[in-house]
Point group: C2
DNA sequence: AAGCTAATGACAGCCACTGACAGTTGACAA
DNA sequence: TTGTCAACTGTCAGTGGCTGTCATTAGCTT
């Protein structure tokens, strides 16, 4: 962030992202055109596409910050932890540190609102899920390395991540459609659902 | 399928689907335009969009048949089975009956090729994953009803489906990128991965 | 055969996105 | 300071997915 040029670029990107999120969360994703965003920042449409790979990319940029943080957190977990526990702690850490990560661009409330937009907009949800799949692949490799396994020969890391990821996406869904849309609620749901994963595999739920 | 009109409509739809799959699997999804498909069937582009909600819809239509079959299979599973077991059996049944379901439109080989296209085309994979999420919601409701639970009050059905779905999507991924692209391989992977889900939750993989 | 209705084709138009090229503006050395 | 280079931007033209509209065609009904 040394030169004036770099600062200018950063400002343009931030402005585009801020405006995009603002419009997406108020007017709605589909009701916002790229031209709208570009016009509001007073740049050409072409410039928007130089900063973001597409409209989707801008909509998922904030979430991307937290994803990157999550991956880092898994990498930094103490090696003695079991894989599931490492992922669980990393995710909880991630939610704790959201504030510091996102706040430099938009207030956390905006981030949360954007999350709802993603979950309620089909095309965004689809893109989000695809990226989650990529993240799962990354995490599987991290875990395999931690445990000294070959990720392609031993399916266990991928299975573990798949189970974890499945529960997490379901948690996101429930959270974003539920009444309590706070970070505390997210933490509570995460812990609760992960704790139930074990019994879900084996138990019969009927009382008799 | 009584009137001539209905038969004609069916034939047009089948022709569009066949041509679409043919082009997608040979030329590639992105390299095929809707105009190409419409031209090959000798209808207007507008007509294509009257039969399919979009290009994606045509690409996922075959998979949609198997999904519908899977949901039915879960519904028909004997009530005494535990939820996980019911889903597992339903999925295996589904693969067994693919032939009879798909063959009336395209040969099974085409179906399998289309599967690879979906997994290797980002936008299609995204759409596929989103639809899988919808399927999971449906299955969660089916299971809840089976077990006499309120799906909104008791998260266990959704947790179980999330775990199952996570493993299944990971299985699809591994299958479609692996060497053995046969139905037998799919069955083997499915069983193997599901069997490992339990230990993935608790175990530590290191040998010491 | 005549009238109704569903299906289609033929436009026109919006929007996301891309390539190409020219103009502008910081960076950096002479 | 100035001149040169490289990076950044705007403009324009074009492609492709998708939609609304309306006139035309073709099957159904009586």
């Amino acid at each position: 962030m040394e030169t004036l040029r770099e600062r200018k670029k950063q400002r343009t990107r931030d402005a585009l992202l801020r405006v995009a999120v603002e419009l997406f969360t108020t007017r709605g994703y589909e009701q916002t055109t790229v031209d709208d965003i570009a016009a509001a920042v007073d740049v050409s449409q072409r410039t928007f596409f130089r900063y973001f790979a597409g409209k989707e990319d801008a909509a998922l940029a904030l979430d991307g910050l937290t994803v990157a943080r999550f991956i880092e957190a898994v990498r930094e977990r103490p090696p003695h932890e079991a894989p599931m526990e490492a992922m669980r702690q990393a995710v909880l850490e991630g939610w704790d540190s959201i504030n510091g990560i996102v706040e430099s661009v938009v207030p956390v409330e905006q981030f949360l609102r954007m999350y709802r937009v993603i979950e309620s907009t089909p095309v965004l949800l689809a893109a989000h899920l695809r990226r989650s799949a990529e993240v799962e692949e990354t995490i599987a490799r991290v875990l395999a390395e931690r445990e000294g396994l070959d990720v392609d020969a031993d399916p266990r890391p991928r299975v573990a991540v798949a189970v974890f990821g499945g529960v997490m996406r379901m948690t996101e869904r429930r959270w974003s459609t539920g009444a309590d849309f706070s970070l505390d609620a997210m933490r509570a749901l995460t812990v609760s659902h992960l704790d139930q994963a074990g019994s879900a595999l084996t138990e019969n739920w009927r009382t008799h």
